[in-house]
Symmetry: C2
Subunit: 187 residues, 2 copies
Amino acid sequence: MNYFIDYLNQIVPLPEKSASAINEITVRRKLSLHTSLLRNGDVCREFHFIEKGIARVFYYKDGKEVTAWFAAENQIVSAIDSLFTGQPSLYNIEILEDSTVWSLQYNKIEPVFQGHPIVERLGRLLITKNYLLLDERMKLFAFCTAEERYERLLLQIPDILQRVKLGQIASYLGISQEHLSRIRGRK
Amino acid sequence: MNYFIDYLNQIVPLPEKSASAINEITVRRKLSLHTSLLRNGDVCREFHFIEKGIARVFYYKDGKEVTAWFAAENQIVSAIDSLFTGQPSLYNIEILEDSTVWSLQYNKIEPVFQGHPIVERLGRLLITKNYLLLDERMKLFAFCTAEERYERLLLQIPDILQRVKLGQIASYLGISQEHLSRIRGRK
DNA sequence: CGATTCCTTTGATAATTATCAAAATCGGTT
DNA sequence: AACCGATTTTGATAATTATCAAAGGAATCG
C-alpha cells in the first residue's frame, strides 16, 4: 500500500507511468522520535509526506526554538525556503514521535516534470494547496486572538497536546508558554 | 510593448503560441486612484500584473482596514484565497494611485493549461515565487521587530511613504499608526 | 519505591504596544 | 497668503503579554 501515491491520486489521478516515475524518486522510511530531517544552514533537497506520526518545522530566535509549522498524518512537510531556491534554510525539521514518512527527492524531480506534464500540474496544485494553508495561517494571526488560534489548532490536530510539548505549541501560536498555560487554565 | 508577457518570459521563455494564448485572456487597463478591483464577499476571478502604479490588498478587522499586501510595479496582485478556491474572498483590492495593469481572466485559464504544458509550468513557478514571498513575510514577523519590518519595506518600495498613507503601512507592519509614527520619529 | 529529571503551572513584576484625545503639519484651493 | 480638510505627530493612560523565579506534577529509571 503506497499511501503517498494514494494521496497524490486524490489531487490529480495519475497514469501508472507517472506514478511509478514519482515512486522511483521516493523512499519510505521509519523515523524515530527526535530524528532531524534538516538543520538550519543546510540545503533542503526533499519533501516528506507523513504516513504516520508528527513533525515540526522550527527556527531559532534569540537562541530559542520557535515552531513555524506542525505536520501530522497526510500532510507534507519541507523547508520550502530552501527547497525551491537551493539556498540554505533558516528552518529545522524534527520528528516528534516515531513516524513513517515518504521522502521525495526533489532534486531529481525535474526530468519527471519534463516527461510528465501531469506531474507539473500536480506540482502546481500541491504548491497551491500549501500556499492556501499558509494564507490561512496568516489570517489566523490577522483575525484571531491567541486563544482562538489555540482552539483552531485543536480542531486541526485534536490530540496535539498529548503529542507535542506545550512550549512548542505556544511558540507556534506566537505567545509564551506561560501565557498559553494561563489561557488553558481559564477554561 | 506587452510588459506582462515580458515579465512571464523572464520566468519561463514562452513559445509564440503560448504567449498569444495567454494574451487572449488578458486585458490592459488604466485604472484611477481608489478603483476597487475586488470587494470582500465577492469571488475573485482574475489576477493583475502591475505595469505602473500601486495597489493594496486589505481586509476589515473590527471595522478597521488592515493591509495584507502591497503590490507595485512588476508585481502580481490577487486574492488567492478566492482565486484558487472559488470561495468568496475576505480580501479587498484597491488601487492606490493612477495605474496601468494587465488583468488575466483566471477562470479562462484551464484550457490554456490543458493545451500548453509550458503554461502549467509557468503557473507552478509563479505560485512558487509568491509562496516564497509570503514565507518571507512570515519570517519578517517571526524574526524582526516592527522597526526592522518597516526598514525592510522601505528597501522593497523605497518611495512608499510618498505613495501610501501611514495608517495603511502601519497595519501592514502589524502595529498602530501612532506606534509607527513614533518609530519614525526616533530616527 | 524513591530519586531525578523534565515539563507545566502559578505569582509578581516589567516591558511593549494600543487607545484616545488633542495638537501640529501638510496639501491643495481660492 | 490664508483657509480647509485630511493626515500625522505627540502626550497620557490602559491593556496585553513577556519575563523571571519558584513551586507543583508527571514520567522515567535504577
